[in-house]
Symmetry: C2
Subunit: 237 residues, 2 copies
DNA sequence: CGTCCCGTTGATCCCTATCAAATGTAGTGG
DNA sequence: CCACTACATTTGATAGGGATCAACGGGACG
């Protein structure tokens, strides 16, 4: 099986490319480029000239911004089937953030000038992309609201719930986040420090809500975490 | 001059409708509806069924989300010429936020089913809207970064600078924000409390950076505020 | 088996929310 | 025109959530 054939099987699974005739799909793939990247690699960096646009076929990425002082903030996660790095379609010449591979990923990309052709071959693409960006805008607004009004404990709980929702895998103990996560990662995602995240996880472990080891987190009680969000000042058992 | 003629003059000024033939513009206006709203009015409320989409012709709005506990968070401001309330174009059935009039405003709107017609009459509309949403997404990401890493003082300074940039009017003292702003408004915009904002403004007043009265803020030293952002731990003079 | 990460936990400090109360300002109706 | 009222602002006092500083423990990998 060639790389192209593997990609064909993968791309068909994603709603973004459903209803596209197999011949058009083949053509779309031939004009694109598939790369496999490992954990820690970057697809593009903040400030790079935006010459291509991307779809994540498999794996997980995070999109992060680096502040002038060097701190990193995770702006969002990218899940399989999602389009990303579409700066050019928004008339930007450079990428506003860096995309970092969280676990081995398969990435499909095209040069910017293929955008119009792609729209013709896949008419749903335009509307779908628009909806995706709209959805992201709403997610971003939700996070602004959370950062403005929630306490750290609730923000971290919400972040964990989102991660298991997007990429959870069932285990005998509960649902495990499907990629490596450090305390630092969660801190960058929730606007806090790795120390505070560590304390929270320790606390939750004693309450039986999570099991966590080095770069691994398993939620044993979704409801327990949910309760922390609903009743912020629950008495500590 | 009829309401329609007033609107025609206004709509032509905005880049969103430039290059649209006058006849098409007339037709677009006839199918739309113009309303004038006063300070404190709402155009639509969070949770309302999204049956129309809007363009702000004149005035200023804020888009706010109410948290389950009743606090309000300002998600963004809307300036003249901007499209807003396009939930339906993103396949949402309800509005995710409330739009509140900050000063008397003129608002143009169409029923959702006019969207496709509008696209035909104004081909640039689709791309323009896409870019607008993309820009907003980036603005939202910037705010996430700020809320995650900046101290309150820097966030408030940035908020003031944005407001004067968007809607500043020159006065003999400096640049005044062109609509009424309370300490509470700024607090909702920056994720802090009105007390902290009041203390900051008092402090800045003694430093000669701002002049502020009841619901009025004038920046006397843009550079001074900018310095607070660049050098977070400037010695207090 | 040593080294590099990652995680844990204690101690301390400080920014900012919260609580509280007084003062100031625009608008309104008699 | 003034008193009344509603709302905005200011400022003090206090408390507390988390950041910061510091040190140690532990598992993975070369």
């Amino acid at each position: 099986m060639t790389a192209s054939q593997v990609s064909l099987a993968l791309i068909q699974q994603h709603t973004l490319f459903q209803d596209v005739p197999i011949e058009a799909l083949r053509q779309i793939l031939e004009n694109g480029q598939v790369i496999r990247l490992s954990e820690g690699d970057t697809v593009f960096r903040q400030g790079d000239t935006a010459s291509r646009f991307y779809v994540l076929l498999q794996g997980n990425l995070k999109i992060a911004q680096t502040t002038p002082s060097g701190e990193q903030v995770t702006v969002r996660h990218v899940n399989p089937g999602e389009i990303f790095g579409i700066a050019r379609a928004m008339q930007r010449t450079t990428f506003p953030a860096t995309s970092i591979v969280m676990r081995e990923s398969l990435i499909l990309s095209w040069p910017n000038n293929y955008w119009d052709t792609l729209l013709k071959l896949n008419p749903r693409f335009a509307q779908s992309t628009f909806e995706t960006v709209g959805q992201r805008l709403q997610d971003a607004h939700s996070r602004i609201r959370e950062l403005s009004t929630d306490e750290v404990e609730q923000r971290v709980a919400k972040a964990l719930l989102r991660m298991v929702k997007d990429s959870g895998v069932n285990t005998t103990d509960g649902i495990e986040i499907g990629y490596p996560v450090t305390r630092q990662d969660i801190a960058e995602l929730t606007g806090t420090t790795l120390h505070t995240v560590s304390r929270l996880l320790s606390n939750w472990k004693t309450k039986g809500l999570v099991i966590s080891g080095r770069r691994r987190i398993t939620i044993t009680s979704i409801d327990g975490l949910q309760a922390l969000i609903n009743d912020p000042d629950q008495p500590n058992t």
